[in-house]
Symmetry: D2
Subunit: 345 residues, 4 copies
Amino acid sequence: MIDVAVVGAAGYVGIEAVRWVLAHPGLFLTCATSGTDAGRPVSASYPALTGLTDVVFSEPDPEAIARKSKVALLAVPHTAAMGIVPGLLEAGLTVIDLSADFRLTDAGVYEQWYETPHTAAGLLAEAVYGLPELNRSKLAGARLVACPGCYPTATVLAALPALEGPAVDSHIVVDAKSGISGAGRTPSAKVHYCSASESVSAYGDCKHRHIPEIEQVLSLALYEEISVVFAPHLIPMARGLLATVYIRVEKGFTTAKAVGLYRGRYRDEPFVHVHSAGVMPSTSEVRMTNRAAIGVMVDERTDTLVATCAIDNLGKGAASQAIQCLNTVFGLPETEGLNAWSGVV
Amino acid sequence: MIDVAVVGAAGYVGIEAVRWVLAHPGLFLTCATSGTDAGRPVSASYPALTGLTDVVFSEPDPEAIARKSKVALLAVPHTAAMGIVPGLLEAGLTVIDLSADFRLTDAGVYEQWYETPHTAAGLLAEAVYGLPELNRSKLAGARLVACPGCYPTATVLAALPALEGPAVDSHIVVDAKSGISGAGRTPSAKVHYCSASESVSAYGDCKHRHIPEIEQVLSLALYEEISVVFAPHLIPMARGLLATVYIRVEKGFTTAKAVGLYRGRYRDEPFVHVHSAGVMPSTSEVRMTNRAAIGVMVDERTDTLVATCAIDNLGKGAASQAIQCLNTVFGLPETEGLNAWSGVV
Amino acid sequence: MIDVAVVGAAGYVGIEAVRWVLAHPGLFLTCATSGTDAGRPVSASYPALTGLTDVVFSEPDPEAIARKSKVALLAVPHTAAMGIVPGLLEAGLTVIDLSADFRLTDAGVYEQWYETPHTAAGLLAEAVYGLPELNRSKLAGARLVACPGCYPTATVLAALPALEGPAVDSHIVVDAKSGISGAGRTPSAKVHYCSASESVSAYGDCKHRHIPEIEQVLSLALYEEISVVFAPHLIPMARGLLATVYIRVEKGFTTAKAVGLYRGRYRDEPFVHVHSAGVMPSTSEVRMTNRAAIGVMVDERTDTLVATCAIDNLGKGAASQAIQCLNTVFGLPETEGLNAWSGVV
Amino acid sequence: MIDVAVVGAAGYVGIEAVRWVLAHPGLFLTCATSGTDAGRPVSASYPALTGLTDVVFSEPDPEAIARKSKVALLAVPHTAAMGIVPGLLEAGLTVIDLSADFRLTDAGVYEQWYETPHTAAGLLAEAVYGLPELNRSKLAGARLVACPGCYPTATVLAALPALEGPAVDSHIVVDAKSGISGAGRTPSAKVHYCSASESVSAYGDCKHRHIPEIEQVLSLALYEEISVVFAPHLIPMARGLLATVYIRVEKGFTTAKAVGLYRGRYRDEPFVHVHSAGVMPSTSEVRMTNRAAIGVMVDERTDTLVATCAIDNLGKGAASQAIQCLNTVFGLPETEGLNAWSGVV
């Protein structure tokens, strides 16, 4: 059993991490920390966990975490993680960080998009970007994993095979649709049921912080500068994320070829499923799982490939992907503890 | 491993039964039959099961089922089950029936409410009503289990402790709220998203077929005739069922006493949780689980006890309860394969 | 044109009052006050009103309100209204109050349920309870109207005909289901989309403040003490409220008789519609209207009448009912400005 | 009063047309025809119209329609309209057609996309495309109006100002999100609440029939061939449509310039509202109205303009736009009968 602490455990991503750790036969939850909910039983804050765990949220005390745990799953806000990670690493822990703090390789880019100095820039070179479909070998034995954002996960999986192959333009359009849990647990006017239901809207600018992450991952993978225009939308569902990418491709490329290309690319991936021609995925089919479902089609009139990737924003987009990374870091079977599935309705 | 066939597997209850069988370490799915979907892979009809099973829906051939299986989970419509059950029993199978055909002990009552002759009335005496919280000992070794309806499950769990104790009136009011999956998988105007969303309504009469079942179960348990007025409502959510029961109680009975009574009654039940005073359960906390969550309060002004019981109508209200029964019939640990839980959001 | 101020206009009830005043051909909106949104254009807070009004929320200054207006529609919180009303009356205005402060005739009862002294108890005798279906004649010329709560409106309309006639028990059960807007505009964990969607639950105790209001109204109308047990539930829709009432009736009373009774009782009511036997109303059919739709059925097995009344909690349950009262007070046609209807889907 | 028949009145678009005709002070509804619902009162099929109209759906008899009406609003399916329109025109009626049959100017293109011969191709030249923002002058006095589809309405309004100005590429990406009512009233697996809720997915191919319509309208307006890749998505809400368009623009073009451009373009349009920089529209703000709300921003990193246009798919995307056309054809004030608005929540 590997002893795991979940730090920042009371937010939506944190509590999902708790849930996945509890369900994993090889992991033991040492503590679930939360500044806001410390002292409350987990099941008081989240009645869905009633009867499944007696853990009580505890204060986030780095020494206590380090003493009891071998791994820390960090689900604290961006800019907070970089203050905690160095100490945990020094104490000998493996850190799987779900924040954005160690995703960008260039501290300057981080500082530009997050508008704050990076206080642990020395660790950026060591951090492994935690998308197993790209970085499986680097993850083995890694000390610090930077788990991808939800939008980059879906976007990269949808775009990569096309960009590796038939794409003729390094500029792509990404239109993404996220469920409301993507906006976090904190109550606000935007997430009020009466505002969020029966409505859809785009975010107000073209400056989402996941843009540099998407561009970096694709550019590194392709040895070529990729640029994206990215417009995320909030839609009325609790969980789920669909990224729709539009990529100009060479003349004569067809839907059948595209499906073949994508299926070949992901043949050995346990968590990526490519649908048949004519079938595009629904987010409901991956709800509460670590799976990514991809559909791809080519508009032969305009030589544009359209791919959509459906994930659970809190699963493959966050907490269960962290477990997939953890499995890979420690040499466990990659699918261990991850065979949950969504209900059929 | 116990070989299990799911008969009528393409409806909402049937496919949930498939899902729970697949998740159970001691069960092996021999076949999933469906008249309408025969020949289609399960994952084509239900993409949420993509990658999790290669089973293809097969024609419902009783001989094939009997040859391959030790247990049949029946999720066929009311009045269809009684035509199939005798043959399966003769072939030596154990039958866990999710229809209403073997729930009522009196064939006359069945014929009155279902308006059709009962063609297997000789088996009614043998059938064990599959509510483990009531009938655990009778379930051990049973050959034919009649699983409760979703409304009776929630109603009986909510009402029983009060009726056993402080109730002063044998007539109770049951106001129930069900998610849309309770209306089944067949498309209709009523379940069209545009009709069902943003709306709530009661069913059109006071003659729901679950009434005689509720009255029978409570009357048998209490050695006293209990009568219920029962009004089910359809509310805009996919899954979940909440039963609210109103019971007149003796003067001086309090919420604190009620919570104590209910907690004592269900102390040893692995799947029943009674909330603290002041907390009433939400259906979301039991979604996709076999759990029942109960809240109870007493209106001391009017000496009325109000209890609500939240279940997943397709889980504890149907498919996972069938697995709980199966575990009990075969002497497996009662909770085996049933420790799923809902996501926290 | 009658000059109308809406006080407390930025909450859900207040902004609905603004909307109905703007739609009314005989009313002129002098101001919409809000402590929180003062200085913002109404359409900035509520983009749905874009292009329909240029009004800017203003500070709630009683003198300014009084100088410009003949009528004040008050949508401020309970306990706040009683501090404002006396001054507005003294300044010569008619006050239509949507809070609870002047609904209860007995200051002692108010103080018991609202746990605060009533500072304007001297006005209680004068206040007219604003349910036109009960108090039409008293409303004509009234100076102070106390508009009913949403739950009492639906409950009284559903229960009154039965209590006037075939009821044999003065204790009734009321199970109510409200959309999320009933919980108000202030963000909270409870109204977060991720908590409120796909779930239903009852409130945590039997002490909702609408209970004494319901009992008072029914008891006064019937010259008999009526007691209610009342359990409100929150269900996943933005607007709408359904009250289901259970009333013991004399033996031999039938659904057909019940429909006849209710249709006779409401024959001349422009905003109350009684459905045919076998049809129970949906809240969607009254969304964004001032209408109440009623269905009634009798469980002849148990001699219990079940009636449901569907209203829009912000319409007939609040703002449009205030306009109906205003019309009646000033001798305008009762339906003037109130012929809005909901969309069909 | 202008006598108006609604033909094909029982579908979602048809019944919305009925609703808008009833609400219009200058229109009189002569009949509402429906093959499926003939003989039923409108309010029996759509209880939301209870008390507002006594009209009974009638058989679609062209002679009866012609005898009683001056205008026919046609909401029959594609390929059915072209069989009815010639007779109605010959009988002297004005026809406002909501189907696709007279939208495309080239019968060959129609036959390619709709896979059926056009039986009234001789009328295509006369039909006026009913987007008043483009064709106001041609609409005056027109005999046959072809109302735009919902996707083309939103797309053209979102794309046109950019294509007229700063665009540097005549190929654009359109990612559209529609509520479930866009799939029509007929029950199906896709629109079952349990399939449609909590999920989003793209349509299965790149061949939506609105593509040639969008390309034709933009190309005619711009005297330049425009090509679109178009991916519609179904999202979990009953009503509403959001089109997001991506257009490459000249270097140095900014969000501020874009807002200025769009505001100038639509300055005199009563039903088009352009939001401030940083604010993108929600579909909820135009629900049940004839309004289009537009937001525009420029990704200066990639010189891509992103515009979103929110409409009600059954309002400005269908029925109320038909009324706007009717007003224009007959010289009524363009906004007459169209000042409805959505509720604020």
